[in-house]
Amino acid sequence: MTSLNPGLILILGAIPVVLIPHAIRRFYLLVLPIVGFAVVHSLEPGTVVTYETFGMTLELLRVDELSKVWGYIFNIAAFLALLFAWHDRDTMQQVSALIYAGAAIAAVFAGDLVTLFVYWELTAISSVFLIWAARTERAYRTGLRYLIIQVGSGVILLSGVLLWYADTGSIEFDHIGIETLAGKLILLAFGIKCAFPLLHNWLQDSYPEATVTGTVVLSAFTTKLAVYALARGYAGTESLIYIGATMTAFPIFFAVIENDLRRVLAYSLNNQLGFMVVGIGVGTEMALNGTAAHAFSHILYKALLFMSMGAVLYRTGTCKGSELGGLYKSMPYTTVFCMVGAASISAFPLFSGFISKSMILTAVAGEHRWFIWGTLLFASAGVFHHSGIKIPYFAFFAHDSGRRVKEAPWNMLLAMFITAFLCIFIGVYPQALYDILPYPVDFVPYTTAHVITQLQLLMFSALAFTVLMLYHIYPPELKSTNLDTEWFYRRLLPRVLNRLGGWIDRADQAIRKESLVIIGDVIAMIERNHGPESAMSRTILAGSMALVVITVLLLFLVVVII
């Protein structure tokens, strides 16, 4: 078993799904990630399985501490998402979720760039079905945009890998760096999937359009695979610090005014990725530990938040802040689980975000980067503001929308319960997570100063929210679309292309018209010279021809006789 890439368990396990009757299939789906988890656990760091082809050495399996962290959490996330989707009978989603999760796990254990590329693209192709499964025109179009961007990332990755191979003669996936063009291309490919600023908008565009369960699956894998790839290839790359800091800050502005609560979560997902990218940019052992730990806890609380909003969407049919409110009355358990997720993402002491994010912040402070540190602190306050308060407040409290629905189905509640339990467990007993991190952990999260300062930051953010609400300054939830970078390719580009098309059309019309005139002139000329009665086509009568021939023959005869 130890020579098998654990991602293949889910990928190959997806094949017989269609043949298994629904009653058994539910259990079968849940067993796969459990087996996957066990296999990851059994893998010895240092294990490498290679395969020679076309003169290249593919490392189909490469195990170390870094990949194991992602291997664990990806299997856990797959299990929780499948449990959350237990009630769902949509085979298409089950198969694509398995292949998608499996591809992400397999990519993490890929030791070379070509194998990485294969799984990288597989995550793109398999995951789009989770969006298309919503089976609406809107989802179809969103899925197409998503697919173009995701596959585009893979194409850029491949060109980078080819250049890298030409430069170095190796396809091994280790530190790459941005010194070469190949390095820059590969960084761009990773950056697209990691939702770097300006490359980010596919995330907010697509995740909220996926199915109730699809979004939960999507939230875990693509972006965190990119974080893993960045940590592997670009640790200590200075520019990532600034990219990451930008990522933590700008999405929160959008999150404050966004109405679709799943889109708010997509913005805060983007913001959390920023913390991880900063950690990678700093690149010290503590920072990389922080990134790995934060990816781990982030996957859990983000899934929990998406689950709670998914449950709301499932029961009420909407996820818009402007149409919700007062749901704590009919969905009390979901409310509590959502608040656990909110407390975790906000990094309240005793919740998972606290013990992982503080590592990154401490690492940044240790480097004496005051501006970055200040930005991250602002982003920490901001994330509590929009994810920690806004999400639960507008969905479950606020103005009572009058909606009285059933509590979420038992499987959703169970999935949320387990996820919430893990969020608190990690927060209360961080050593469990610290023990599996890539480097030895020399960090104590629970010091008086840490706890008090963090509580001050958060509670005064809550105070700001309260005061702004009391004075009616806080922007109300409005039915709206907020322009983001997608505007460039959803509006500007089509407009430019349309206008360009218009010009081409008009030029085409003019050229055709002019050509017709010219062709007409040519035809007229030909007609003049070659038409009936024209010089070139005058016919000579057969009689005169005979006369000519006879004359010629007579002349010939005369000449011969003479």
């Binding site: 179009r141 502005f253 005014i257 602002f378 009285r404 001050q456 930051l457 509670m459 809550a462 700001a464």
Partner: protein, 91 residues
């Protein structure tokens, strides 16, 4: 998808329906904040930056930045907000 039965009629009164209780919650937030602010006097910070040693720095920073965040976001609405079907029209 479930049938989305969103019943409107619900005569039951909940704890938070009472404005008095909402005021209690808000009051609690103020009290907790005040206690946290004062607590800065009672422990030692292991600070990396000089600002961290200011009394109540984290509290003031959190409050001010959140207010600025919301005001800036409100301003963004002026420029960025369109109606809900914006992209659906001749997309």
């Amino acid at each position: 998808m479930s049938e989305h039965e969103n019943k409107i009629h619900d005569p039951k009164k909940y704890w938070l329906d009472e404005p008095r209780n909402v005021r209690k919650v808000i009051g609690a937030v103020f009290v907790v904040c005040a206690l946290l602010f004062i607590s800065d006097a009672f422990y030692h910070k292991h600070s990396h930056f000089a600002v961290e040693d200011w009394f109540g720095f984290y509290a003031i920073f959190g409050f001010v930045m959140c207010v600025l965040l919301v005001l800036a976001a409100k301003l963004m609405r002026v420029f960025l907000m369109r109606d809900e079907e914006y992209y659906d029209k001749d997309d």
